[in-house]
């Protein structure tokens, strides 16, 4: 059955989602175990695939038995396999966390929530493993529709944000679709690898249609990943949506979009086209610098814990977009590494924010007041995530930033290096402030902000279903950091054929 592993990655969550939606009306209690079981099975499938990829190289799975480009293929190489494992694991951990919170945060719509959650996971996994440009669009829309619904289940601010997201997301996806249409009109193919072969074979390097296709696809994905000037939909939707929804969407949706961008740049258009023929690497790096700074400044201005974290996501997106466009192998390695480590550290801090919200009912950062004494285990988990976001060794965040900075230095993009350092500094300020409040309690001068009175005495350690995902995430962050050499080896194996070192700039 191992040669069927690629399709099983997707089938488990997808079929269980339908089952949960049907069964949920009668046996709501069965939803959660089914969700966990299917995501666990999906993790096993992704790991099997990863091992196969590491042993035998790229896997090409022809759905329907039709050879590409006639049929749709799932094409899994080192990059997808890693991202797929990440997506499945994050979804699994997020699902464990959901158990206690769903009923209260989504007005008793547990079964629908789990069905949508699984469909979102299936959509994202499908995006990651597919090798067909149009198939990616369909799955993009599945992921998008479920996201809109998961967010709109929250309070009224989240509903408005979900509407904005719907409009922006549709614009992004439609731009992507249009870009694929332009590629199709010039190449006649939809298979990613085949598109690139046709682009080279037909000498379409100078075609203005292909250039616009590249711009449309990139901008469409930038909208979807909330790259700085196009980020308007993100902060409110993740900050006010149900904590359970944002604990899967914040780590995954933007990261998967960055994966798609990397895939488009490397596999569909090819690094030579994307970096040499067009040569707007510098502009994009500057845009990324602006995004990083804007995200950091935005985060400094926030009093709301989750909203602060959403601005950090915008800064992180800047890291990765910049890292891709540094046009340097180390930079690209760092960007891909950061996709993985950022998924886990975002999950970690969002889980923490969810736990704090669940325990205190408050959204602002002073809600953590004195939590070190009341919930020490939770705080340990949070500190690992926070240290990783700041970039303190041996956490994952340190190593990915290390590679990004190396890439910046190698390619001479000093503005990017400086922005990265400033952003790390801002993260340090933000998180040490939170840790300080949690450890020493808030200062008297700040006492006017929303006092919670007697709540403080009731707060105790979080329930086990919330602790396990938090601590699991923290452990994974440390593991990714400690085994960074192996991870980087896999990424560099993947990057080798693209030959990013030689001949560019």
């Amino acid at each position: 059955m191992t040669e069927q592993a690629p399709i099983l990655i997707l089938l488990f969550p997808f079929l269980t989602a339908i089952f949960v939606a049907l069964l949920g009306a009668k046996v709501p209690a069965a939803s959660w175990p089914l969700t966990i079981a299917s995501l666990g099975a999906s993790i096993c499938a992704t790991l099997t695939t990863l091992i196969q990829v590491l042993e035998n190289g790229t896997i090409r799975y022809y759905v329907g038995g039709w050879a590409p480009p006639f049929g749709i293929e799932l094409r899994i190489d080192g990059l997808n396999a890693l991202v797929a494992v990440t997506v499945a694991t994050v979804a699994f951990l997020g699902a464990i966390y959901s158990k206690d919170r769903v009923e209260s945060e989504t007005e008793n719509k547990g079964p629908q929530y789990y069905a949508l959650y699984l469909l979102l996971a299936a959509g994202l996994l499908g995006i990651v493993i597919t090798g067909d440009a149009f198939n990616l669009y369909v799955l993009l829309e599945i992921a998008a529709l479920t996201s809109y619904a998961l967010l709109a289940m929250g309070n009224k601010r989240a509903t408005l944000a979900a509407f904005k997201y719907l409009i922006m997301g549709t614009i992004g996806a439609s731009f992507y679709l249009l870009g694929v249409g332009y590629l199709y009109i010039k190449t006649g193919s939809l298979n990613m690898v085949d598109i690139q072969e046709q682009l080279i074979a037909n000498g379409l390097q100078d075609s203005s249609t292909v250039q616009v296709a590249f711009i449309m696809i990139t901008v469409g994905l930038w909208v979807k990943m909330a790259f700085f000037p196009l980020h308007a939909w993100l902060p409110n939707s993740y900050a006010f949506g149900p904590t359970t929804s944002s604990s899967i969407m914040a780590p995954l949706v933007t990261k998967v979009m960055i994966y798609v961008m990397v895939r488009m740049v490397l596999t569909v258009f090819g690094p030579v086209y994307a970096f040499e023929v067009l040569d707007w690497g510098n502009i994009v790096v500057w845009l990324a610098v602006i995004a990083i700074l804007a995200g950091s400044i935005g985060a400094l201005a926030q009093k709301d814990l989750r909203k602060m974290l959403t601005f950090l996501i915008i800064a992180e997106v800047g890291y990765m977009v910049g890292g891709v466009w540094l046009v340097d192998e180390t930079g690209m390695t760092g960007a891909i590494y950061h996709i993985i480590s950022d998924a886990f550290m975002t999950l970690c801090v969002f889980l923490f924010a969810g736990i704090v919200f669940a325990k205190t009912g408050a959204r602002d950062i002073y809600a953590v007041d004195g939590l070190f004494k009341k919930m020490p285990i939770t705080m340990i988990g949070f500190i690992v995530g926070a240290f990783s976001l700041i970039g303190i060794p041996p956490t994952a965040g340190f190593f990915s930033k290390w590679y990004l900075i190396q890439g910046g230095i190698n390619s001479g993009n000093w503005e990017y290096v400086i922005a990265l350092l400033i952003s790390s500094l801002v993260n340090a300020v933000l998180f040490f402030r939170i840790i300080e409040i949690a450890y020493f309690g808030k200062k008297p001068a700040e006492g006017h902000i929303h006092h919670h009175g007697d709540d403080h005495t009731k707060i105790s350690e979080a329930p086990i279903t919330q602790l396990i995902p938090l601590l699991g995430t923290a452990a994974i962050i440390l593991l990714i950091g400690i085994f960074n050499k192996d991870l980087v080896a896999v990424i560099q194996d993947f990057l080798e054929p693209f030959n990013l070192v030689a001949g560019i700039r």
Binding site: E141, A149, K156, L160, L177, G181
Partner: protein, 204 residues
């Protein structure tokens, strides 16, 4: 008249841009949520118009085979099996026949020399996809059993893609309308600026 006809030739490609921009403008700058959603639908149909225009071919017909092509095909295949040994070098013909033969293998294994032909065909099955030669696209009648000229039919692929896109469009519209109703239930209005105003005065 010729000039206008020439303009009309590319007219589709112009019109989709115009419609798309109307839709995009509505999505970005209208205040009313339902207007935004109508704009979204207009925007998506414009993209579908673009795709359908890709598939259009002059003097081609809808991508459904004619009745006599379908039924004539069976006869032609049967006729071909007798003298197919002569056409081994014809990639196209072989590909079609090879498929046929493997599919119908049991039905037609009557000829004495059929076993030998089958061997040849088996080789061709493997590389049928690879050997597909794109330059000579006209099928000559009598060679491959199915006398289909690709230029006779429109490109079916874009139609398939756009069926999917229409479905996605209506699904998004439905979800958008549901969110609109929820917002109306909470704010009592579907004007975006009024909602934002309420949020500002209500919470800060």
């Amino acid at each position: 008249m010729v000039a206008i006809e020439a303009l009309a030739d590319k007219f589709n490609y112009w019109v989709y841009i115009v419609i798309m921009m109307i839709g995009l403008y509505a999505m970005v700058s209208k205040n009313n949520l339902i207007k935004k959603l109508i704009g979204m639908s207009v925007f998506q149909t414009a993209i579908i118009l673009f795709y359908v225009s890709i598939g259009y071919k002059d003097e081609a017909t809808i991508p459904i085979l004619y009745h006599d092509q379908v039924h004539g095909a069976h006869h032609a295949e049967e006729g071909d099996h007798s003298d197919e040994g002569a056409h081994h070098d014809e990639t196209h013909a072989m590909e079609a026949i090879a498929k046929e033969a493997t599919h119908h293998g049991n039905d037609h294994a009557v000829d004495a020399d059929h076993a030998e032909v089958d061997e040849h065909e088996a080789d061709h099955v493997i590389d049928a996809h690879v050997m597909h030669n794109e330059s000579d696209h006209a099928f000559e009648a009598g060679h491959g059993g199915l006398d289909i000229d690709p230029n006779q039919f429109e490109n079916p692929l874009v139609h398939v893609l756009m069926l999917t896109a229409i479905v996605v469009g209506v699904a998004t519209l439905g979800v958008g309308l549901a969110i609109t109703q929820k917002l109306y239930g909470e704010f009592g209005t579907i004007e975006e600026h009024e909602i934002i105003e309420q949020l500002r005065t209500g919470n800060d």
